[in-house]
């Protein structure tokens, strides 16, 4: 069961239900058993009393022979036609005095002498009606001396048991199902209640990510049984955070340390007079410079919570970024443009980060479009900004992946490291902003960002 049912609540309910079922079965079984015991002893006593009754009506007749004289009411009860009750009475020598029917008389004659101790017996399919009887045979003192009395009654004793059970079901048992239901509900509720802190902990756990490694699961109110797990998870998170911090510091330091030698190499290369190979080398170094900048950017975004609370003018920011990238675009034989609103568009965020995001989107667009085309940045009202190009567009199946770190599209010439859009996504996320990718009509890709209006 434990292997199949994972829910504690369900498991407890099912197990409790099984327990209640077994307990009720046992109780009912026990009740039937004791009821039939009771019924049996009642029947036995009744038989004994009737034997004594019969013995009382035996007296001596004129010939000093014992004979039975029943009052009319008993006469009827023992009437041969009904065959409901049978009796046979013999004297101390075993001679039959009287019998309710010849069959029982014949049978009693074959039996050994009765004792003062009652002996109970059963007859099955007896008599002309082939009915089952239970009876007693006992030796009793009477006015005419010791008598052997045999009394039998049709076994219909179950009726008593049935009536006892019926009584029980109607008087007592009806409240068992509601009680069981309430108990089960209570169990389920109590489990749910005591697991609530665990739900809170899972909500917290799902918020833990590379950007929020300092979060821990709440230990307060967690049930004692689950506490060791929560504490252990928190300790594990502590260790992970340490490792993470070291890793990040390493990335940041490494990128930072790479910068100076790269500046030197860039400068040296510029001072060299050269041929085509040299310009290829320069391009390569420029690429490396960009990569190092992006790595630093990623490391920074990972390690420092971005302050996204300053009001800023998206239009002014876009103007600055587009202006600053104009020369880069022109030297790559492409151009950039700014369209849309020409009035301030106020949003709340981090200007440097949004500028970084925009720069990365533009660099990305420039890298994936043909020479002579234009990359358009459009600022809309309500904090919307988009970057549109006239390149091949982004295939629908790639759109889920383009924001992953180091992801690069197939068949796209290896240009960057695949960090640009990941940086954009981090920044968008830190702002609680949204980004969507779509096709531009008639051709090209379109990135739409929407920031919170100030």
């Amino acid at each position: 069961m434990s292997r199949r049912i994972k829910s504690l609540q369900l498991r407890l309910t099912v197990e409790l239900a099984a327990l209640f079922l077994v307990a009720s079965c046992l109780a009912v079984g026990g009740l039937i058993y004791s009821a039939s015991l009771t019924a049996g002893s009642l029947a036995d006593r009744e038989l004994g009393l009737r034997a004594e009754d019969l013995a009382r009506y035996v007296s001596l007749d004129g010939n000093r022979k014992p004979r039975l004289e029943l009052p009319p009411s008993l006469e009827q009860a023992y009437s041969a036609a009904a065959q409901q009750s049978l009796f046979a009475i013999g004297d101390k020598d075993g001679h039959l005095i009287e019998a309710s029917s010849p069959e029982i008389g014949a049978m009693a004659a074959r039996w050994p002498q009765a004792d003062f101790e009652p002996s109970y017996f059963r007859l099955s399919k007896f008599g002309p009606l082939e009915r089952d009887y239970s009876g007693v045979s006992i030796k009793l003192d009477s006015a005419v001396g010791p008598l052997s009395v045999l009394v039998a009654e049709v076994s219909g004793g179950n009726q008593l048991v049935h009536s006892i059970l019926r009584e029980f079901v109607f008087d007592i048992a009806w409240y068992v199902p509601p009680f069981v239901a309430v108990a089960l509900l209570l169990a389920a509720y109590s489990v749910r209640r005591s697991l609530l802190p665990l739900r809170a902990a899972s909500a917290q756990a799902s918020a833990i990510g590379p950007g929020s490694i300092a979060l821990r699961l709440p230990e307060a109110d967690v049930p004692t049984e689950a506490l060791p797990l929560v504490v252990a998870v928190n300790h594990a998170l502590d260790r992970l955070e340490q490792g993470f911090v070291i890793q990040r510091r390493f990335t940041a330091n490494a990128a930072h340390e790479l910068r100076t030698p790269l500046t030197v190499i860039t400068a040296r290369l510029e001072t060299l007079e050269g041929n085509g190979q040299l310009s290829a080398l320069r391009e390569e170094v420029a690429r490396m410079n960009r990569l190092v900048e992006q790595l630093l950017c990623v490391a920074r975004l990972d390690s420092v919570a971005l302050d996204v609370s300053s009001p800023l003018d998206l239009h002014e920011l876009a103007e600055e970024v587009v202006g600053s990238m104009a020369h880069l675009a022109l030297s790559a034989c492409r151009t950039v443009a700014l369209t849309g609103a020409d009035h301030p568009v106020l949003v709340t965020g981090n200007a440097a980060a949004i500028a970084d995001a925009l720069r990365n989107l533009i660099e990305n667009a420039l890298a994936h479009t043909a020479p002579g085309t234009e990359v358009v940045v459009e600022v809309g009202p309500e904090g919307a900004i988009s970057v549109q190009d006239s390149g091949p567009g982004i295939p629908a199946e790639d759109r889920r992946h383009i924001f992953e770190r180091f992801w690069r599209g197939k068949g796209v010439r290896a240009h960057g490291a695949g960090l640009g859009l990941a940086i954009v996504m981090e920044i968008v996320r830190a702002h609680g902003a949204s980004i969507t990718v779509s096709d531009r009509v008639p051709r090209g890709a379109r990135f739409d960002l929407r920031f919170r209006a100030a």
Binding site: H256, T260, T266, T271, E319, G323, S324, H327, G372
Partner: protein, 225 residues
């Protein structure tokens, strides 16, 4: 022309020295904040390049100290691209321009020259970009050595473009400069002037052209696209 390079990275300062030497600058190198402050106090440099990350102290302290003792020389600071605050603090403390590392030496030289060409700067009044030469006093333009005649408004626009060669000139800046000197109400809008200017530069065989960056402004750059 005497230039002070305040930079603790020897290899970089070596390259700067040789490169600026090539175009006729005398370059001194200071490798620490202390050396830099001493040098600035003793010698009247024409310009300085200041790396903000120095081993013995903050480059900003050097900057403020120099301004406090009345040194008005143009100072360009070098910062890391991610250190926006440094950049802002540097400009607030009296820096004239900044470049982020890693940078291109040619851009550094262009920026330093531009600083020296500012009104009151040491470099004469001649602007140079590509094969264009503009005497800002005589209002004289030569392209590839040939004299070219332009209208006053076109010259004013070209001057702005040459002062910010390779960098964007926002429309608003051009409007401001133009209507400052030319108050004729019926004057043509800027795109018309740019159009004329472009045609004349092209006709005169200029190695540069004015590119329009829609929605932002204009940029003077190598003839491409």
């Amino acid at each position: 022309m005497r230039l002070l390079v305040i930079e603790d990275e020897n290899r970089l300062s070596g390259i700067l020295k040789s490169k600026f030497g090539d175009i006729g600058f005398a370059v001194d190198i200071a490798g620490s904040a202390a050396d830099a402050s001493a040098a600035l106090e003793l010698i009247n440099y024409d310009a300085a390049i200041l790396d903000l990350g120095l081993p013995d102290g903050d480059g900003l302290a050097v900057l403020t100290a120099a301004r406090r003792i009345g040194k008005a020389l143009p100072i360009l600071i070098l910062t890391a691209r991610d250190a926006v605050e440094d950049r802002v603090a540097g400009l607030n403390a009296g820096a004239d321009d900044y470049l982020t590392k890693p940078f291109a030496i040619t851009e550094l030289i262009a920026r330093i020259k531009a600083l020296l060409r500012r009104p009151g700067g040491v470099l004469g009044m001649t602007l140079e970009a590509g094969n264009l030469r503009l005497d800002t006093v005589g209002r004289d333009l030569t392209i590839g050595g040939m004299s070219v005649r332009l209208s006053r408004r076109e010259l004013a626009i070209l001057e702005q473009m040459m002062r910010r060669f390779g960098r964007i000139v926002p429309k608003a800046v051009l409007e401001e400069k133009l209507y400052g000197i030319d108050e004729e109400p019926d004057s043509n809008p800027i795109p018309v002037h740019i159009h004329h200017l472009r045609r004349q530069l092209d006709a005169a065989g200029a190695s540069l052209m004015i590119h329009t960056i829609r929605g932002v402004g204009y940029i003077l750059a190598e003839t491409k696209v």
